[in-house]
């Protein structure tokens, strides 16, 4: 007679199958699979790299706490050193950010001899200009060739002219817009509460 477990295609709790341990083991992070994750994701600028880095650092930390091994300590220090390099890299902006920078039509630039502060070439001398404005704030017009400011911003997210952190500036700008939208919505809903009921 077949057992209850066999009929229902489940395992007997008292007799776990051999591969159960490995299945369970896989759920726990081991140093070797943390290192694997780190190696496969390192080099890319993705958040998962930062996560893998963190996981590896904490794993090594545990290891050195557990056996006081000097190797773990050394590994950790060298990792932190490379982390500084990574940190510097992550000070920059992403390609997506560059893609969303405000484009400026050269014909809209009032000064005839306006030039890019980085390459010092006049915008109007460029046959195929691609000019962007950084979100430094109101009233300032910090414009560059995308080709010039792009590589800089990828290393360092500050405006070369005023050192405004363009990532923060962009975040603040978005916050403001969201705030305005929220306020507008509130006012709307106060005025047209019944309408919302109908269309909502």
């Amino acid at each position: 007679m077949s057992t209850y477990e066999e009929e229902h295609n489940i395992q007997d709790r008292a007799n776990p199958r051999a591969d159960d341990t490995t299945a369970r083991g896989r759920q726990h992070a081991t140093l070797s699979n943390i290192i694997d994750t780190f190696l496969t994701t390192s080099g890319s600028d993705t958040p998962s790299n930062a996560y893998a880095m963190e996981a590896l650092t904490s794993a090594l930390h545990h290891l050195s706490d557990a056996d006081g091994s000097r190797l773990a300590q050394t590994l950790m220090e060298s990792l932190q050193d490379s982390g500084d390099i990574d940190g510097k890299r992550s000070k920059g902006v992403s390609q997506e950010y560059l893609d969303t920078l405000e484009r400026v039509k050269v014909s809209s630039i009032s000064e005839d001899d306006a030039f890019c502060p980085i390459c010092t070439n006049k915008f109007k001398d460029d046959k195929y200009p691609l000019v962007v404005r950084l979100p430094c704030g109101h009233g300032v017009n910090h414009i560059y060739d995308l080709e010039c400011v792009g590589p800089w911003l990828q290393m360092n997210s500050t405006c070369p002219l005023c050192r405004t952190n363009v990532l923060e500036a962009e975040q603040n700008r978005r916050k403001k817009i969201e705030e305005e939208i929220r306020r507008a919505k509130e006012e709307d809903s106060e005025e047209e509460e019944e309408d919302w009921d109908v269309y909502g």
């Binding site: 502060p117 980085i118 390459c119 010092t120 070439n121 010039c148 400011v149 590589p151 800089w152 290393m155 500050t158 070369p160 002219l161 050192r163």
Partner: protein, 152 residues
């Protein structure tokens, strides 16, 4: 060697045709990224009577990173060490690609006029400077007479 970027050519031309008062920068004949620089000590500073020699090198990724600048003339200054290395923010973390050779050299000239012993590179000099500023300024003057070229 890769072709010289247009910006470097333009900067060099302007340094020669429209030099900054009290500063010269002449590119070397065999390497146009290497400049021989002189800076006049600013008036009303312990370096006022001297002309100082420096070397300036534009790394391959200039202007994405700062020029490398070093004093060749021995100088007694809290932000310049024995090897002539200079502690100046715009040469390090505060570099910006909108800065140029001429603005950097002006900053170095300004540093001579305004030593900053609280952010030292030469610790012994900075200590002297903080302990006895009068004496330190005397030494700076002596060194200027001894090592720097005299102003015309």
């Amino acid at each position: 060697m890769a072709a010289l970027p247009k910006r470097i050519i333009k900067e060099t031309e302007r340094l020669v045709s429209d030099p900054v008062p009290g500063i010269t920068a002449i590119p070397s004949e065999d390497n146009l990224r290497y400049f021989e620089v002189t800076i006049d000590g600013p008036n009303h500073s312990p370096y006022a009577d001297g002309v100082f020699n420096l070397e300036l090198y534009l790394p391959d990724d200039y202007p994405m990173c700062a020029p490398k600048v070093r004093f060749l003339t021995k100088i007694y200054h809290p932000n310049i060490d024995k090897l002539g290395r200079i502690c100046l923010d715009v040469l390090k973390d505060n570099w910006s690609p909108a800065l140029q050779i001429r603005t950097i050299l002006l900053s170095i000239q300004a540093l001579l006029g305004a030593p900053n012993p609280d952010d030292p590179l030469a610790n012994d000099v900075a200590d002297d400077w903080k302990k006895d500023e009068k004496r330190a300024i005397e030494i700076a003057k002596e060194w200027t007479l001894k090592y720097a070229t005299k102003k015309d």
